[in-house]
């Protein structure tokens, strides 16, 4: 099945973002935190997209923002999937009290509103990037746990899993060889969705001032720092917002296609 046009477009955009994120130091005309001009210089000339509130090059900040924001969102999502996916499969395969304990812990975590939970924990432990990553990853992993447990349970009741158990296979082998290969499709689709949520979540946190801290370039923070320009009908602060929107939409285009393939839906 050929990917529909929207998905191809989305894929191209995602690849461009990834490329920019990886080659940021080469692409960017200036240093990430380097003050190179006056405050709020206009577009064009030396500074293609002008400068920000303390005279850093906007384009450079945008490019580094791709690396920081997208990179951290990716790390968080991956971590959330490792924790949530693993525990979800374990709960589905073992069942019994292990499943009960894990599921109830997840229930409790999910009962607390996400932003409140993360803001609370971050104000306790500070906003260092490793803390940020771990806290959001744990928060997101509860959602991953729920999904993984549900899809893994559908696989766990299949005869081939029973045959593996009767053969005397270890729990690890059953999870790794029998269950995981049969649930990868929904998990990949969920990865895309989770990634955009995480991404929006950390930009929101940065906008509120609790996420990625200055002077590190971050799209959410950049919107906040330059927000005042809006009053002068200068659209520069909308550039990082547009970067966020474009990536979110593109990732969703790609996921739509993956989901469609995974579920065998008709076009």
């Amino acid at each position: 099945m050929k990917a529909p046009f929207t998905s191809q477009l989305g894929l191209v955009v995602v690849i461009v973002y990834a490329f920019v994120a990886l080659t940021a130091p080469v692409l960017a005309p200036f240093g990430e935190t380097e003050i190179v001009g006056d405050q709020y210089e206009p577009w064009g000339g030396e500074f293609l997209l002008g400068t920000d509130n303390i005279g850093r090059d906007m384009l450079t900040r945008l490019i580094y923002g791709a690396r920081n924001t997208v990179g951290i969102a990716f790390v968080i999502t991956s971590l959330a999937f490792i924790i949530g996916g693993f525990l979800g499969m374990l709960a589905a395969t073992l069942g019994g009290w292990i499943d009960q304990i894990l599921s109830r812990i997840v229930d409790v975590l999910m009962a607390i509103p996400g932003l409140v939970f993360v803001l609370l924990v971050l104000s306790f432990f500070g906003t260092a990037i490793p803390v940020l990553i771990i806290v959001i990853a744990i928060f997101e992993s509860t959602r991953v746990f729920r999904l993984t447990r549900a899809v893994a349970m559908n696989v766990e009741v299949m005869d081939y899993v029973e045959i593996s158990k009767l053969r005397g296979e270890s729990i690890w082998w059953i999870v790794w060889s029998e269950i995981l290969p049969n649930i990868t499709a929904p998990l990949i689709a969920e990865f895309g969705v989770r990634f955009t949520y995480t991404f929006l979540f950390i930009t929101a946190l940065s906008f509120l001032g609790l996420g990625i801290q200055p002077p590190i370039a971050d799209w959410g923070g950049m919107v906040r720092e330059n927000a005042v320009l809006i009053t002068f009908s200068d659209y520069t602060p909308l550039l990082p917002a547009a970067a966020i929107a474009l990536l979110t939409v593109s990732v969703n285009f790609v996921i739509d296609w993956v989901l469609q393939k995974a579920s065998g839906l008709k076009e």
């Binding site: 299949m158 045959i163 009767l166 053969r167 005397g168 296979e169 060889s177 029998e178 290969p181 049969n182």
Partner: protein
């Protein structure tokens, strides 16, 4: 209003009610259209019963549905005409077709449990179509439903309609669906495998009900089944399908006595395989012994004091209908369910109740083969890994040694190794998958294989090949089998000893030869006499016998 009773005339009159000419139906596979039915002609006269027979994928259901001008999702009629009286069903508008369906043409599906809406009473569902189409009023419908229930010999016809679908048994539900189809006295009823999901003893009741109803109302019917013996009881004329082609058509008796085509002859010859009678010396200690097993799922007891033994090199068939506890017995033997009382002995040594407590060698010696090969093979594992895993796990084989053993095992189950070793289960047919399951069981070098309904999900000809294979392997490797089945034909073919179970108890057991010669236990007798035979008079004779 239409008249409710049809005129009684000759059984087969000359007026043609359904005429299908040169029907081609295509189904959509990802990008191309694939042919499902290639140019089939069907003519059906008033009051005639036509049997459609074939294996899965033969196109018989597709033709049956086409008789209503309907195709499944993703299918289309690419060529041909379908006429019901003088109405063109291919080009009929949705509205015209809707006026017809349920009133003049009705359909009885395979699974009544899935076809009834669980939230409404039987009698309400029964009347709905007729009331909607203005055939009768609610009161008339109810009175008529009770009469139909009585004619179909349902227990308590006055009040059974007030029950919900889950409150009646499978056989009763199937009869209720037949009654529902007959509610508007249609001219044509399509029965699509109406008894396939039922036990043999229940099947008889439903068959008898359908047959008498169709005869009484002079309804024309299309009876679809994969079982030639069943169709022979019902149909005046039979059409044999294979891969979307009509292979042969003929009057029932003519077709059964003088089949022209090779394929029809094969279908008739099915169930003729019998393993050679074995007289193995039974040793003092049987390979497996089941002693006084009592077991329950939660609080509902399913097994009561079940005892039998499996001698080395022999096949013990556990026979019974659904709910008889035969599969539960297998689960206890394999350690999936702990018995509340009794034990399982292997070569005189008691096995621990759950599989987790048993040693690797004990697990290796008893292997299982399941009913549905589709769910017992991991769809993401290539055959190489599926069969290779027990070799690595139990016997520590790796690399080239394991690979060549996998190839050996594939040849043993008559699959060409180089062609199959790298395939995924999705790229195999049902019979081939079951062969892979057998190879996987053999890979563990077991002494006992528990076969749980291994042939019931397969077409008859394929099933027979599997039975022959299992028999050959038994002789080659001196294997013992526990063969769980509801099908007496399978027992006849492969068993040495038979254990008949009913409602969690063993009713009778003994060597096969003894079991198939009278006198039988009452239940064994019922079970044996309920197995359809190719003789078209079998059902009538049986019903006459039982009436005495």
């Amino acid at each position: 209003m239409r008249t409710i009773t049809n005129s009684t005339g000759d059984k087969v009159s000359d007026d043609i009610i359904l005429e299908i000419r040169d029907l081609h139906i295509e189904g959509r596979t990802s990008e191309t259209w694939q042919r499902i039915v290639n140019g089939v002609d069907v003519t059906l006269r008033r009051g005639e019963v036509l049997g459609l027979i074939g294996e899965s994928g033969a196109g018989k259901t597709t033709v049956g549905l086409a008789a209503m001008g309907y195709t499944r999702d993703g299918c289309r009629i690419s060529k041909g005409t379908i006429r019901f009286h003088d109405m063109d069903l291919v080009n009929a508008s949705e509205k015209q077709r809707r006026a017809l369906l349920g009133v003049r043409i009705a359909y009885v599906a395979q699974s009544a449990a899935a076809a009834f809406n669980p939230a409404h009473k039987l009698i309400d569902q029964h009347s709905e179509t007729g009331i909607q189409h203005g055939v009768f009023s609610r009161e008339e419908a109810r009175a008529d439903a009770m009469e139909l229930y009585e004619r179909l010999r349902m227990p308590d016809p006055q009040s059974i309609g007030l029950r919900y679908p889950h409150q009646v048994s499978g056989g009763q539900l199937q009869r209720a669906m037949t009654a529902m189809a007959l509610a508007c006295r249609p001219e044509l009823v399509i029965f699509d495998e109406p008894t396939t999901a039922l036990d043999v003893t229940t099947q008889i009741e439903v068959l008898a009900a359908i047959k008498s109803a169709v005869e009484q109302f002079q309804t024309a019917a299309i009876y679809i089944s994969h079982d030639l013996a069943l169709v022979a009881q019902m149909a005046d004329r039979i059409m044999v399908f294979r891969n979307g082609d009509l292979i042969e058509e003929g009057q029932t008796r003519e077709l059964l006595t003088h089949p022209k085509e090779r394929y029809t002859q094969d279908l008739l010859a099915v169930r003729t395989f019998h393993k050679a009678d074995t007289t193995t010396e039974t040793t003092d200690v049987p390979l497996l012994e089941v002693r006084h097993l009592t077991a329950a799922y939660g609080k509902s007891p399913v097994l009561f004091n079940v005892s039998f033994s499996v001698p080395q090199g022999r096949t013990v068939a556990l026979v019974g209908e659904s709910g008889s506890g035969k599969s539960t017995t297998a689960r206890v033997i394999s350690g999936l369910l702990s018995p509340s009382e009794g034990q399982v002995l292997y070569q005189g040594v008691p096995l621990l109740p759950t599989f987790g407590q048993r040693s690797k060698t004990q697990l290796r010696r008893i292997q299982m083969i399941y009913q549905t090969p589709d769910t017992s093979l991991n769809p993401k594992q290539r055959i190489r890994k599926t069969i290779g895993r027990p070799l690595a796990f139990y016997l520590g084989m790796n690399g080239a040694v394991r690979d060549s053993r996998v190839r050996e095992l594939l040849s043993l189950v008559e699959l060409e190794p180089t062609q199959y070793i790298d395939r995924l289960p999705g790229e195999l047919s049902g019979g081939e998958r079951q062969r892979v399951c057998i190879a996987r069981a053999l890979a563990a070098e077991p002494e006992l294989i528990v076969c749980d309904e291994v042939t019931s999900a397969l077409d008859q000809l394929v099933a027979e090949e599997i039975l022959k294979l299992l028999d050959r392997l038994q002789r080659e490797f001196n294997l013992s089998y526990i063969f769980i089945t509801h099908d007496i034909g399978t027992v006849r073919a492969i068993a040495d000893d038979v254990v008949v179970m009913s409602q969690g108890k063993v009713v009778e057991m003994g060597p096969k030869t003894e079991m198939f010669t009278p006198p039988h236990h009452e239940y064994t007798d019922l079970l044996l006499s309920s197995v359809p035979e190719m003789d078209p008079d079998w059902l009538d004779n049986l019903l006459a016998d039982r009436a005495d």
